[in-house]
Every structure is written in C-alpha cells, then in structure tokens.
Point group: C2
Chain length 342, copies 2
Amino acid sequence: MGGDHAPGVEIEAAVQAAKRWGIAIALVGDEQRIREELQKHDVAGLDLRVRHASQVVGMHDSASDAVRKKKDSSIRVAFNLVKDGEAHAVVSAGNSGATMAAGMFVLKRVRGIERPAIATIMPNLKDQTLVLDVGGNVDCKSFHLAQFAAMGEVYARHILGKNNPRVGLLSNGEEEKKGTELTRETHSLLKQSHFNYVGYVEGRDIFNGSVDVVVCDGFVGNVVLKVSEGVADALTTMLKREFEGRFLAKLGFLLAKPAFRAFKKKIDYAEYGGAPLLGIEGVGMICHGGSSPQAIMNAIRMARDYSAMDVNRKLSAYLEKIGDPPSDEAATTGVSGGIAQG
Amino acid sequence: MGGDHAPGVEIEAAVQAAKRWGIAIALVGDEQRIREELQKHDVAGLDLRVRHASQVVGMHDSASDAVRKKKDSSIRVAFNLVKDGEAHAVVSAGNSGATMAAGMFVLKRVRGIERPAIATIMPNLKDQTLVLDVGGNVDCKSFHLAQFAAMGEVYARHILGKNNPRVGLLSNGEEEKKGTELTRETHSLLKQSHFNYVGYVEGRDIFNGSVDVVVCDGFVGNVVLKVSEGVADALTTMLKREFEGRFLAKLGFLLAKPAFRAFKKKIDYAEYGGAPLLGIEGVGMICHGGSSPQAIMNAIRMARDYSAMDVNRKLSAYLEKIGDPPSDEAATTGVSGGIAQG
C-alpha cells in the first residue's frame, strides 16, 4: 500500500507474476481497494489471496515510528505472514527504511548479523554488479562492512549465479594507503577472509565489469545510486535535446530507435526488479516507490528464487565459519510457496 | 612532466593557449625534452620560457614523499615560480595529491583555511555544478566541510559567474534526520552561514541543475567523480554496441552523428579544463592525467581568469567575516601574467 501508485501497479504486477510463473500471492492492504482493483483483471485460476491491513506506512513516516506505531500497517502484516509460515517472502514498493525496519522487527536478524543491508543490482559492461549497503546504514564500523561483504558474496554466488564472485571495497583509489580509517580497517578484515577479495575498487569499477560485489556504507551507497541515476537521466535528456533541433538527426533517431530501446532495457532497473534485503530471517525485496508493474513482477520472481535457494541458511553456515568460502552444494529447497505482497 | 603523455600534450596545449589568448607561459621540466618537443611547433612571437627541473613526481609517488624528497621536481619548481612572483598560476596534469601537497607546502594556505580542497566542475541540465572536495581530504571535520562550502561559494560566484550561488550539502536524503554525524554537524554550521545554503541535496541533484555548489568530503567526492565517469563511459559503450548489430541503426547513427558530437562536447571534461585547487595562496589548476591538449589549454585559460579575478583575496575577506555573504564588487586586478606549466 505504500508505493507511489499503490495498490494499482502492485496488483497488476501480482496478477502477471501469478499468470506467468504460477506463484501464489497474498495481497496485503485495504481489502476494499484491493478487491476493486482486482475487478479490472482476469484472475480466474490464479492463487491470489487478500489480507486486510488497516494502516499504511507513508514515504515520510520514520522507520521506527512505522514499526512502533502502525502495528496493522500493510508492511507489518505482510512480514507477519512470513513469520507465521503463510508466506515465504515480502515484496514492497513502499518506504524502504520502514520495510527494512519491519523486516528486522518481525523476522529478526540472521544469527550473527548485526545490521541487515539492502543490496542493489547495477548493470555493468559484462553483466551485473551487486552494490551494498544502499539501505541507509550510515556511521558503520568495519565489522558491519565485512558482514555486508559476506552477505553480498553469498547472494551473488547463489542468486546471481556468479562462480567465485570478486568482492571489492569501494575507496577513493586502489592503493592500500588510500581510503578512510573505516575502509583501511575493513580492508584488513577482508584480506583475512577466504573469499575472493580483490581489494579496493573505485567508483568506475562498478560499471566496467571488473568486480561482482562492491561494499560500502549506506551513505556512500546512496550517493552511488543517486549519482548513477542522475547521470543516466541527464545524459538521456541532453541526447534528446541534441536530436530535437536537427532534422536529419531526428530521422537518424527514428532509424536508431530499436537500438535505443534495447539499450534502455539494459539500464532499466525494471529488468532487475528489486533490491534484496539481506540479513533478516526471511526474504524481503524492496522496489523503487515509482516502480512499473514490470519491475515489481520481476521482483516477485526474484523473491521466489531467493526463497527457493535458501540463501539465508547458506549465509548462516557461512558466518559460523567466516573466513571459509561457502560450500557450493546447490541445495535448493524445491519450490517456494506464497509471496506476501505488502 | 607528471602527466600520462607528458610533456607532449602539455606543450601542445601551452603553444595553443599562448597563440589564442596571448598568455605568457613557463614550461617547467626536463629542458632537453621540452626543447625537442617545442621544435615540432611554430612558436614565433609567443612568450614561452623553459625552466629546467631535474626530477618528476610520478603518479604512484606519495604526496608527502614527493614534497619532501623531490625538491627539484617540476611541480615544486613550478610553484616556486609563483612564490617568487615569476608566475601567477600553476597548471598540472600530474599526480593530483602531489600537486595539492606541493602547492600547500610552497605557497601556504589562505589565512583561516585549514585544508585546501580540489573542486570539479560537472555539467548539469542547465549549466555546471561545482563539487568539492574531490582532492582526497578524507576523514574531515564539519569545520572543514563548512570551509569547503565557503571556497566553493566564492569560486562559483566569481569564476563561474553565478549570482548568489545555491550551496548544498551532499547527503543520503533531503530530510534533516538523514545523513551521518558529520553531515548533521555541518548542516548546523551551514544553516547559520549567510550564504544561500539550500540544505541537504542528493547525488542526482548534481546533474539536474537544482544546486550550484555541492559540498562533501574528499572520499565521497572521489566516488561521485568516478561513478559519473563510469556511468557515462558504460552508457556510451552500451549504446555503441546496440548500434553495431543493426544496419538501419548504423545509418541512423551516421545521420545523428552531429547530435552525438554536440552531446559529447557538453559532457566532455575537456571543455571545462581543470579542477581548481582552492585555499592556497596562489592559483593551481589540476588536470586529469590523460588530458587532451584541449583540456589543458582550457585549464590554462581558467587559471588565467582565476588569477585575474583575485579570488583568494575575496575568499580571505569572506573568511574574516564568515557568515556574511562576500561583497559583490567585481574588483579584478587587470591582466594576469605568466602561468607556470608544470
């Protein structure tokens, strides 16, 4: 209920995901509005349930208030479904801080994890780079960053299908003497880990395919995310403007349109769907507030995969023997069940 | 001598700047190599002098070693020319940390400035945004960031010609409760300043034209710079790839080429030339190690303007009464003289 265009786009996404992949979905929120929206779709044969929640956490509610004050909010009720075993995962396009807080509060953290993190998947010249934290963990300690690295490693390995993912620490230069006190401490910790730690990486490495997982604190991660969006938007607008004043260029643009479309698809976050919430005892997928139905639909599929791969159990095992690489046994738990759409 | 393609591109840039704008330039470095390079150009009537320096600070030398150990390096000798009144400004495409360190060591800081900063000029949808620090001031205190804001304000006002520039503090959200301990302290300081402080801004605001000066520490500033470069490079490569496989798209690309060129010009750092080194008692302009002759030529012109506008005297006056906006009297000092090209 907390997304910018809720619950319309969420319901459209859920209907599509149920149709395409046969996923069972609980729609959590204002029952009457949800049922009205569902009227617009052909839902025959789909496993869609509605769970009423009387409150909504808005984009401007604080995360902690949302958890403490709004006990019947859609996001709380959705995570309760996971806690009660009625769903395997939560997908939300609402307030991301509140989603993280509610997930932590209701489901608790994976044992050994001090701070859950949100990871984002960014396109690079070869495939994708996972960047974390982008979930607002500011003023981190080196221990937190090392745990983000572990969570990112496990996610990249098991969900993104990267074999022996290269993990880098974001810094202002590649030399060891660069960085802040925090990055230098984290660098020492990660050098002792047994995963494929490649050392300091720079901002441009996120996009050139030289690293699979990039670790930073949530302040810097937010800057990375927002600067990337800002540059991509500005470049697109500038390019459009350049084309507008020129007749031949306009013709050229029309001829080139399929290329532009393919390109846009590649950089469109909708393709990747959502940002996984890592480190809670359950699965959460966070979508942009203004997500398209397609983005949310893809997030639902990713949540299904995340849950089916039993990543959290692998992470727990990994944390117990941190320093050792995770075992590569592809122990999936078969098929996942319902996904709570909050 | 320290640039990636030194001294060829530097000398070509100097010759062009001398020709186009009549600027007097001292070329500092290995005399024999410089004279060999100069043979390739028609330098009749140009005020180009050569100053020998026997050492070079490499890209991998540490800034402090460079200053302490290499006393006859081209960058040290160049700043000495400014100290001795033989030049007004230094332009360098060498090691930026060493340039900053040498500038501080030889010329000293502007009275009241604790840490000089490097600012970079980034294109936005309307004109340009000045971002500082990108010069490696990591682990900053709020007082440092407030001084960066003051330096950026004065530079944007007097060199970029912005009337009452809007100054923002880079954070992970616009709300006051966002940010780190450092940004919240800085926010309090800047709210008390009398310049046009617009509060927290996000990474995307650098590119949408909503702010003129964006303040951050040197770690975050480096991330901003490298992420922007990385996204722009990746988008260009992806777009090219999309065009390659398609015949009509290729034709379209040819027709649209002038638009692409105009666009590239807009985002090309060469247009902006160099990054000003702010807060030292003199003028320094730092160029990318791989700069084109055009970029360095533009940096020489910017250094000339920077020196002519007597920005440092304005900054001193500003710092004495920090909190008051700087006086707007456009007291230029007439014409600047030679520029040392290190």
